[in-house]
Symmetry: C2
Subunit: 393 residues, 2 copies
């Protein structure tokens, strides 16, 4: 249920944040939008004027990361092998979020190191803090120029950028001590081919996502996700040192619940039906809807745990769903929400359907979401953010 | 003397290559041109249509690097401490040159590793080649996006970009095994302040460089160069592992010879006098000439050796001057040369003097250089490229 407190203005719903954030943090990773940044400039639908959610929700999990480092990361052992501690943020994008998160992690590691050293050598205050080196990773198409010119001047680490897909190797063997990845892993590396195969039971006709689709469609998405995660975990298993930690934050879902019961699923369904309505009216072709799918998958904690256990190289320190929008108050403001969605996602739709029909699409979407606003409000504080902490065995 | 062989067409002179190459390779490093790329596009004066010298002269020193690695780099010792060999190219710019050089170095290191391993363990063919990680460094303002999207697909190394000045720390302590830097170190980090101080004997009135200037001006440049090199060597001393190798290629000059005796010096003098002529005719202000200086310094091998010895952390394996343009044949084609100079350097002049006077400046420059073409031709095969190989003690 939406909270009754009206002091704050509720702009959106909890798990819609994930899709917006996902696009924000990892637009370069979107296979269907690989060269489509968010709306630029400062206009009505620009991302810069419509990223309030993203700012507000950034850092929801930061306290948990600090807690995990404090309680479970053995800085003394890590720094005994190397005098450099190496961190990686996978899917860093260009923004300030990665710098804030990295700063949080580095400071937590420094505190842990100091506390461990003072326990073992209480009279040795001269012990030298290890140096930190941070690798900011995203696809080659990411705007690293903006990332590099935005680096904090007073950072306590040496910085490097690493271009490439995190589904493959990025770093030397046993060289990384801490991996962070936020709102990236729910983007599939590619769309399952059968989604567009008319002869397949997984043909995803008339929909843009697996929400409300037959099991075969959901299964095709799940298989691709499992394959992507397998490659991701294999690469990280090589790169992380023993006892190295990996924090993964992404969209999740409680086990067994259909995605259509969540606001993001409602959004996808409403986009699908808006597009199908437009097809019926001849504004677009029905085949265009059939051939468009969003490469986005939300896993349950149990599903993710199964994939990690199958890989076998990592211990699971923490795996849980949280409400990413506990800070939000009041009912959803649908027009504002759609403006946010448009700022983040218009590019991928306009490339496929053409920019001329975007006003039409987002106008219809607003009406459809307004029609189901009670349903959205009743589900907008679900726990749909997966927070996982793994440790290299 | 210019060689008589007329089979090849000589477009320019040997050490002019250095200034053109210098700008090409390290434009981001130019303090006076930090945001001034070479002329873009495909027009008459574009860099892309006027970079023949650069292509031809790239790789002049590559054979020497291979020789140094083969004869002096102990890959067995380096790889016994770490299973990752880390390389850095400082001042990499965006182009293909850095990839070609790095490829050459990695392959030479792999050959050396194999030969050392086969000598010590002739029957152990399964010995695992170390992984290579390459750090491409340039200033934050460098176009890393172009660099990253141009990375060779079939590279045998993991790649990272490192933004920042090489006059400070870039990498963790004792983490780098090989440093390469080409056509970067002759650019000063800043211009000596006294060059613009009317009360100073180092006031560089009416000139754009220390060529043909009083000793005080030369001394001011030399002091800044020594200070820059001190910071550079201090940082590299921290970062290189013991026995790690550093190859430095830059413009040089034989000890005791005035810069005005070299084609690049003649170019600078001709630019100075062209500008002063324009000032006298009221086309520009004389004060504009006084306040413009090129932050470019050519050191002699003896001078560089002195700086390295004062630092004390490196052994000198090789320090020599070479002719960077042994491939060039025939007399200098002055108009073509000026077009090349313009493509590489127009930005820094137009920012200071305005784009409206560029045709005038480069037209006058062409005439002045044509007047002294015999002199240019008689000196254009001087050894003005400094090749230095250091090893961390």
């Amino acid at each position: 249920m939406a909270e009754g407190d009206q002091e704050g203005k509720l702009l959106g719903s909890a798990d819609l944040l994930n899709i917006i954030n996902g696009d924000h943090e990892n637009r370069a990773k979107l296979p269907v939008t690989s060269s489509l940044p968010m709306n630029g400039g400062n206009g009505t639908y620009s991302y810069s004027k419509n990223s309030y959610y993203q700012k507000q929700s950034a850092g929801v999990e930061r306290e948990k990361i600090i807690e995990e480092i404090r309680e479970k990361l053995d800085m003394k052992t890590l720094s005994s092998v190397s005098n450099t501690i190496r961190l990686a943020d996978l899917g860093c994008a260009t923004g300030q979020n990665t710098f804030m998160t990295i700063q949080t992690i580095v400071e937590a590691m420094q505190r842990k190191y100091k506390s461990q050293i003072s326990q073992s050598r209480p009279h040795d205050s001269d012990d030298q803090m290890p140096e930190f080196q941070v690798f900011f990773n995203d696809l080659e198409s990411n705007d690293f120029n903006t990332l590099f010119t935005s680096l904090p001047q007073d950072r306590q680490y040496l910085a490097a950028g690493v271009p490439g897909s995190f589904h493959g190797r990025l770093f030397p063997e046993s060289s990384i001590h801490f991996v962070h990845t936020s709102f990236s892993l729910h983007w599939l590396s590619k769309l399952p081919e059968e989604l567009q195969n008319k002869a397949s039971p997984a043909w995803n006709k008339g929909r843009v996502h697996y929400t409300s689709a037959p099991n075969e469609v959901i299964e095709a998405y799940a298989c691709q996700f499992a394959e992507d995660m397998k490659r991701f975990l294999n690469a990280r298993a090589k790169e992380l040192v023993p006892q190295g930690m990996m924090v993964m934050i992404m969209t999740g879902i409680p086990k067994g619940m259909p995605y259509s019961q969540f606001p993001t699923g409602m959004l996808y369904d409403s986009i699908s039906s808006s597009l199908m309505d437009m097809a019926k009216e001849g504004i677009i072709e029905e085949g265009e809807v059939d051939s468009f799918n969003l490469a986005f998958y939300a896993a349950s904690p149990e599903e993710m745990a199964g994939i990690v256990e199958k890989n076998g190289c990592f211990g699971i320190e923490r795996m849980e769903l949280t409400n990413p929008a506990a800070w939000m108050k009041g009912p959803v403001d649908i027009p504002s929400l759609v403006t946010h969605v448009r700022a983040a996602m218009e590019g991928m739709f306009s490339r496929h359907f053409g920019s001329l029909v975007m006003d039409e699409l987002f106008g219809r979407l607003t009406h459809k979401l307004q029609d189901i606003s009670d349903l959205i409000n009743s589900t907008c504080h679900e726990k749909v953010q997966l927070f996982a902490v793994l440790k290299r065995k």
